[in-house]
Amino acid sequence: MSALSLPAKLDLSTVEAFCDAIRARKGGDLVLDAGDVTLLGGLGLQVLAAAAADWRQAGHSLSITPRSESFDNALTHLGVTLNDLQSTEAA
């Protein structure tokens, strides 16, 4: 299992590097640390949702923990649930 921290601001300025980082961890279970997130933008949401689908398809788990209050609020503002961004599949 590998772990990766989300940048504090997951938006245009950071999304490319974050996407590359998460791709580099394909093929195994992954825990994302969203404890420091202050801003989750639309582009960041896309990457998380697409990654979760990929992990689900591959049968690996992807979880987001811990999560900051800002991160949880952003999910509500963006009209998604945590389930959209996680994979509960076990390898």
């Binding site: 996407c19 801003l39 639309g42 990929d54």
Partner: protein, 737 residues
């Protein structure tokens, strides 16, 4: 330059804020002068609204909150529910000042300015309690939509969800709103983010929101900066369409926005899909569903909006291909259309200015080489060079114009200083501005702000009398400070004129003597007494007031003006007022100069300072005192200065007969004659500052590089004369004579 795209976009937002604040001040000033028409009020409203909208996109919550409350009050004015009077206008100005502070605080990451809340509460108190709550106002403002477009939108909209189109169903005015928002990649690239927009949407009321993930590709093929998501929302029917669209106003050309009222039947279905079970959503990674296709294709399928269709029913253009002529709902038919502009990084302009400077030097060197080659005047090289010189001149003028900016924003800042300063000392003051469109180099404007602020404060505090004293003197209670700018012979002259009591020369002289600045028995002319104000540490205020007497005097002002290559002069008339004239160069980069030679040194005198040149005869020269001469020029006597002696190159000459003089004028109208050995040519020279390396050199403004590569000093005749000894006769000569 920063490489962070977000930082650049944000910086550009703050530049726009500056422009919006400027138009806000303009409109308020118009209102102050009696223009209460709808367009002027709208300008105020739109400026505040635009700042709010932009701030929302960057998550600048404090600025959004402040602007929102200001906007709400201005909306009351706009709708005619709130009457404008002198007091409310004063508050609008005051709030605009605070808004500018809020913008500055947001830009610089500073805490919210003190007093913001008190200011807003004072402003909101204008509305009283009798007014209806905002929701009711929205309903009363509601404009029914055109039918034809609704049908088109409904078709596309409901088609997305496989719902019956219900084309025959007329939406009623209380039906909930259905909104589909699809940002394009350009929306993200421009620094906006749905997060902020959707949060603002949620602030409007109870919103049921769902993110549509169906268009997401496989993670492997996902491009991280490409936009794939769209959002569907249902909003309460009582919301005003304008308020909903306003949230997306700044991104309307980089997103697809569909907003319709749901029909009765559709509403029943809507209730189902607005509270979806998320597990029912299309699985990720699946083939993009028809939903996404429909969203993309939606606008194209819609009926073409008729040109005269009311704005609320207007369909935004597809995001991928914004039309050239984007509809701007806020543009008034009477409003002056601004010229097309492009923002350019200042660093690039400065580089261009430097390059043009080098071009001018090179062109001068080339001209010198051609002259030395002894080619005939009508040769092709000579004519070609002449055309080249003219072209260089044109390029130079054009480049300088890029750096030039109107003084208007600077003058507007002074409006605020007057408001604050007059409130602090309980005086009634009105600021009049003239020549706001006068353009000056950007650096000059920036560096003029501090000295001007100080002078305006001085004018309010010392220059103008209290209302009671004015009334007793037969003047209006309200004092007038006039701030004007105009171009005058290649320079810009800025004047600060008050209609106060004028300089109390007796008091000034007494003060100067008591402070030991001048000897007790000194005999000074009025102008000399006035100039005592510029002595370091001088202050006429008997008591330190809220504004003045903080140890920063007019000497600091004069130093700042001199550092800009400018001069300051003062004239005053007892009982009528005081006038400060600041004369500044238009640009800090080039000047037209006369190249002269003195004691084998090549020097440049700014052409703007020279009135005429002359050759001296014995009859022209008269002696005055043991070591000084004056010359007789058309009935006047003008002091004679030997440039070579004043600059320390040589001793005064024994005779000036046949000598060449430059007659120069100063800002206070005084003239002086400078003796030079020879006039070589007139030419434009590129200014190379010496201030940074050598500090202020008396009599020398800067340096330049001539065509032969030689460095020449550029003189400041006024400063030179100010510091001159005036010796034009050696002591021996004087004794012998």
């Amino acid at each position: 330059m920063s490489n962070d795209p977000m930082a650049e976009i944000k910086a550009s937002f703050f530049v726009e804020c500056g422009e919006l604040l400027e138009s806000l001040q303009d409109a308020l000033t118009d209102m102050d002068e009696g223009a209460y028409d709808n367009e002027t009020i709208n300008v105020v409203f739109r400026a505040v609204h635009s700042i709010k909208g932009g701030a929302g996109a960057f998550g600048l919550d404090a600025l959004v909150a402040f602007a929102h409350r200001y906007e709400t009050v201005m909306d009351e004015v706009r709708s005619g529910r709130l009457e404008i009077d002198h007091d409310s206008l004063k508050l609008f100005f005051h709030t605009a000042d605070f808004l500018a502070d809020q913008v500055a605080a947001a830009r610089d990451g500073l805490p919210e300015p003190d007093g913001s809340e008190a200011c807003l509460q004072e402003l909101e108190a204008l509305m009283g309690d009798a007014l209806p709550p905002p929701e009711e106002e929205d309903i009363s403002d509601f404009q029914p939509m055109g039918l034809s477009l609704d049908l088109g939108i409904s078709d596309a909209e409901f088609g997305d969800f496989g719902l019956p189109p219900q084309l025959e169903d007329m939406p009623d005015e209380s039906a909930p709103w259905s909104l589909t928002f699809t940002p394009s990649s350009a929306l993200y690239a421009s620094g906006n983010d749905p997060t902020h927009l959707l949060r603002n949407l949620r602030d409007l009321g109870e919103v049921v929101l769902r993110c549509d993930l169906a268009a997401l590709p496989d993670f492997d093929t996902l491009e991280s900066q490409h936009s794939y998501l769209s959002w569907h929302a249902t909003l309460p029917g009582e919301l005003d369409e304008g308020d909903i669209r306003d949230i997306f106003e700044f991104v309307e050309d980089v997103c697809t926005l569909e907003l319709t009222r749901t029909s009765q039947d559709a509403r029943a279905e809507t209730t189902e899909f607005t509270l979806p079970d998320l597990s029912d959503l299309a699985p990720l990674g699946a083939d993009p569903s028809s939903m996404a296709e429909s969203v993309e294709a939606g606008p194209a399928q819609q009926a073409d909006p008729a040109p005269d269709t009311p704005a609320p029913a207007e369909t935004p253009p597809p995001a991928v291909d914004p039309p050239a002529a984007k509809p701007t709902p806020q543009a008034s038919p009477n409003a002056e259309a601004p010229g097309a502009t492009v923002r350019v990084d200042l660093e690039r302009i400065d580089r261009l200015v430097n390059l043009v400077g080098e071009l001018v030097i090179n062109q001068a060197m080339l001209a010198q080489s051609v002259a030395e080659a002894g080619l005939p005047q009508n040769s092709k090289v000579m004519t070609g060079l002449e055309a080249f010189m003219m072209l260089t001149r044109d390029i130079q003028d054009s480049v300088m114009m890029i750096r030039a900016q109107p003084v208007k924003p600077l003058f507007q800042r002074m409006g605020r200083i007057v408001r604050e300063a007059s409130a602090a000392v309980a005086k009634e003051v009105r600021l009049r501005t003239e020549g706001e469109a006068t353009e000056v180099d950007k650096t000059v404007i920036e560096r003029l702000a501090d000295p001007l602020t100080h002078m305006i404060r001085n004018a309010v505090d010392h220059g103008l009398e209290t209302p009671d004293i004015r009334e007793a003197a037969g003047k209006p209670r309200e004092g007038i400070i006039t701030l004007s700018a105009q171009h005058r012979s290649g320079r810009v002259v800025i004047e600060i004129i008050d209609d106060g009591a004028g300089i109390n020369r007796k008091k000034v002289l007494e003060k100067a003597i008591s402070k030991g600045l001048v000897p007790a028995d000194v005999q000074l002319s009025d102008a000399e007494i006035d100039n005592l104000l510029f002595l370091p540490g001088f202050s006429t205020a008997d008591q330190i007031s809220a504004l003045s007497g903080r140890g920063v005097g007019m000497d600091v002002v004069r130093s700042a003006i001199q550092a800009l290559g400018g001069r300051i002069a003062i004239t005053s008339e007892p009982g009528k007022g005081t006038r400060f004239s600041i004369s500044l160069p238009l640009t800090l980069a080039v000047l037209d100069g006369m190249v002269i030679s003195v004691a084998n040194e090549t020097l440049v005198v700014p052409l703007s300072a020279i009135i005429e040149t002359a050759t001296l005869t014995t009859e022209d020269i008269r002696s005055l005192g043991p070591q000084t001469n004056v010359i007789h020029v058309r009935g006047d006597f003008v002091p004679l200065y030997d440039l070579g002696a004043e600059l320390g190159y040589r001793a005064p000459k024994s005779s000036y007969e046949g000598g060449i003089v430059l007659l120069t004028a100063q800002d206070n109208g005084e003239r002086s004659a400078l003796v030079v050995d020879a006039i070589m040519e007139q030419r434009q020279v590129v200014i190379k500052g010496l201030q940074q390396s050598y500090g202020h050199i008396p009599g020398v403004a800067a340096a330049t590089i001539l065509g032969d590569g030689q460095i020449a000093l550029i003189l400041d005749p006024a400063d030179l004369v100010h510091n001159a000894s005036g010796r034009t006769r050696g002591l021996e000569t004087a004794l012998a004579g």
